[in-house]
């Protein structure tokens, strides 16, 4: 479904080139949630952007259902629903207008849009604010609307970049519940989040990134046996406390 092959990307910062993503590879199958985790600045967002074709990789490529994002970006975009932490909503449109707009962009007919909006509105509890101008929505409402927007064309692949950023416990619970729902509906999902407990619950496999490199990869059980730690929080703390060298030394690619 999703396969990432040796993606690398560096950015020019002044005269320095910074390697933001260094040879990252992984696959995600349908009904799988792949947790792409790592501290801020690890390169997760860059990976996601390259998968979507928003950024051109220096090396390697990403493939979705056999379409390479550097060759057929439109085909890839059609099959992906993308939610990011920074995704905004259109201030001067209502939620319904915004959803309809994106429905049309993805080539849905008017009837399809209507039934899809009703469906999503019920699932994500958008009903009470769907006809409100987006500028007046709360963070949680905006984020739910963003999720609905990404799902409007019912894509087989979801890429979620910190979908719960800035949400309270209840708000993020709604999102995580829905991610589980998506998993049950055979979507292939890449999830990037800092909510490690929920990630541990919802993700099937994990990839830990640090400083652009893929440090660890595998199911929760595999991560435990590699690190000797019980849960993601501990693994993360290890990573951040500069014990990364020992971790990087033991990169295990389970493919």
């Amino acid at each position: 479904m999703i396969s990432i092959h040796h993606l690398s990307k560096s950015f020019q910062s002044g005269r320095e080139a910074i390697l933001a993503v260094d040879d990252v590879s992984f696959d995600v199958r349908p009904s799988e949630v792949y947790g792409l985790l790592g501290p801020n600045g690890a390169g997760k967002t860059t990976v996601m952007r390259m998968i979507l074709g928003l950024l051109k990789p220096d090396d390697g490529f990403a493939e979705i259902n056999g379409h390479r994002s550097d060759q057929q970006p439109d085909e890839v975009k059609r099959q992906v629903g993308f939610v990011s932490a920074s995704a905004g909503v259109y201030q001067w449109l209502t939620g319904r207008e915004m959803l309809a707009f994106f429905g049309e962009i993805y080539g849905l007919s008017q009837q399809e849009i209507e039934s899809r909006v009703d469906e999503l509105s019920e699932l994500l509890h958008l009903g009470q604010f769907l006809n409100q101008g987006c500028a007046t929505l709360s963070t949680g409402q905006k984020q739910r609307l963003s999720l609905a927007r990404a799902l409007i064309h019912d894509p087989p692949v979801m890429i979620l970049d910190e979908p719960t950023l800035g949400l309270d416990v209840v708000g993020s619970q709604v999102i995580f519940n829905y991610i589980e729902n998506l998993k049950n509906r055979n979507k292939a999902i890449i999830l990037c989040t800092h909510r490690l407990e929920q990630a541990q619950r919802v993700c099937s496999r994990f990839g830990l990134m640090y400083l652009g490199k893929q440090v660890l990869q595998g199911t929760m059980g595999e991560l435990r046996s590699q690190t000797g730690r019980e849960d993601l929080v501990e693994i993360f703390v290890d990573l951040l406390e500069n014990r990364s060298e020992s971790l990087t030394a033991g990169i295990v690619n389970l493919q």
Binding site: P30, A87, W92, I105, G107
Partner: protein, 791 residues
Amino acid sequence: MTNDHATSPDPPAIDVVEPTNPPSRRKFRLSRLALKELRETLRDRRTIVTLVLMPLLVYPTLSLIFKTFLLTNSGMFGAGEPIVFQLGYAGNAPAEEVQKALGFIGQGIEFIRRQKKEAIENELVDQPEALAGNPPSTSVGRGSNKPLDTVADADDVDFALQKWFYVAPNSRESLQQLVESGKLDAGVSFDLDGRAWWEIGKVNLVSRNDDLSVAAADFLLEQFKEFNESDRKLRLRKAGIADGPAVIVGETLVGPEPSKKSRQAFPLASLVPLILVLMTITGAVYPAIDLTAGERERGTLETLMAAPVPRVGILVSKFLAVLTVAVLTAMLNLIGMFATVWVFQLDKQFGGGMFNLTVMVQIFFLLMLFAAFFSAILLVVTSFAKSFKEAQVYLIPIIILSLGPGLMAMAPGMSLNSVNAVTPMVNILLLARDVINNDVAWVPATVAIVSTLLYAYLAIRLAARIFGSDSILYSGSGSFAEMFQRPREFHRVVPIMATIFCLVMLFPINFASIGLLGRLSGESAADLEARYLLMALFTFLAFMVLPLIVAKHQNTSIHIGFGLRFPKLIYILAGVLLGISLWPLVMSLTSGWHEVYGFLFGSEKQDAWHDRLVETTTQQVARIRMVSPWIIAIAFSIVPAVCEEWFFRGMLLRSLLKSNSVWKAIVTSAIIFGSFHVLSNSVIALDRLVPSTLIGLMLGYLAYKSDSIWPGAILHSLNNAIVVFLAYYQPKLSELSWFPGEEESIPLWWVFVGLVVAAMGAALAWSTKRVEALPMQPREDSVPMVETNRH
């Protein structure tokens, strides 16, 4: 790709929404996109403020300013106390005939039109009296200083007073001297030679270059025009005469020569378009920032980018939205402006210019054009910015810069000549002024419109390129600052952005050097030699030193980046053949352009233009002949040829070749080369465009095939040398009957011979295999070479 995933069966529940018919869908989406952008913008409070509130506030304020202006200048422009024009007559006609004629010309016209015939009898001019340099005495007549067609109601016409003075043939000062010294405001001279007063025939109008005299002369001219045009027959019948010959007015200007347009009392016709254009800019600025930088800041742009819409489509939709708002602004402002002009009768009080519905529609069309152009420019700039504030910072200089051409177009002497017609913004402003003045010349108008459309198109293309680049979308790279940063990598050719920077810098440098050289007005041989050498120095600095500095700064290989390798001999031969054979073709092309010009403007203008051309050319040739041939060779042949090849075929073409197809690169460089030759001399302007561009194509092709600028430099210098030395030695050559005389054109068979030789040269270049590009010599202190092109 791991094969097990590719072969695994697709999960059943997934239903991918695949558009059934992508191309038609795409079209639909573009309009949908644009509609969304527009809806969003129009719901925005800030858009509404600029759209509606500004015109509501601006125009009443403006009308106040106009009114204040009127009051402070009332003496001059008809409101308040009317002024008395001191007018003189000189000639041999008997006093009573002159009196009749002047009475008729000066005031009778309007009274008859208003069927107040008694007014004529009551207010005829007094007996013209001998003045001969004495202070003006009392002899007052009254007439109107309003053009008739703007007078709506006869009763509210303000009258200007005139005093007529008879300048006797034996007076101490002539009419000209009296006008020049300010004792008279204007005057006419005509002889009757025994004819009756209505057979005036030829009149000479005398005025000097100041507002009062110009106003007086305009007043007289208007009356003569009236006499000739609208109801001359009617008037003559009323006077009991069947018909008479038309009055032909010749004009004599004394004192410093004024420019033609300074005859306008107040540039209302120039001011109106400027205000409208500035307001249109105001309308476009906010949506342009909001829809690009604003969206990026709010994070909605990435969402849109993640959808299957081409980036160009997104940009075009944004352009359409900005354009719509700008056009709406223009429309509201236009209505506001015309309403102001109409309500306060500014057109009448200032004189000059028409403000009716047709003009309004035409101006609206021009504003639409301008809006398209400026919206595209705005998008280029705002596409760079990552935040609203950053975009604002970039736009302030742009808006201030746009005031420059705006004020330039306000200048009285400006007209839509070939340079102004292709100068962005200035062309639209001047055209709008001409529309208001009902003085449109169609060819420059077409040039202005087409060039503006072209600029708009190019700006959209550029904006799409900037907008689409992911280095702009994300991260700190791609900012303006980075463009000026010295890269660590070593380049084969100068990066295109640096070349564009060079090109942009060349325009002002070129203008400045033309201006500076214009200040050196000495005509002695030494002066001319100094001027020509200075000209060569400017060419050297602009086209050689500046590119060299930029290339060095960009860590570019000079040898490869400018194509300095020694070429294959066969290309040198091709360069020589083309260099000696292209000039007859260029000359026939130039005369071909004259024919086109004649076809477009009419043969009268063609002749006038041709005369002017011959005059300036003759002047130039006369100057050239005063100077040593060595200096001519340096200043007109060697330096321009080498330096221009250095920049156009070296830096520019090679930079373009890097990221474009061969023909696109050659054609682009040739057009830029041609445009520079138009700009280099405002007199012999447009006729150089086509020949220079064609030679540019040839030079570009030669440089591409030979991978060197030298064959082109040889071609270029030979061509220049032949043209300039043919002129230099023409008298001797004609004496030997080797060359046609000054006014003759070259024989047709020369063109054919030229064509054959040129074809041989071109065939040589064509048939020879292209020289492989030089390999890069790695330098120790440099990082490995990288591709310079980010996109």
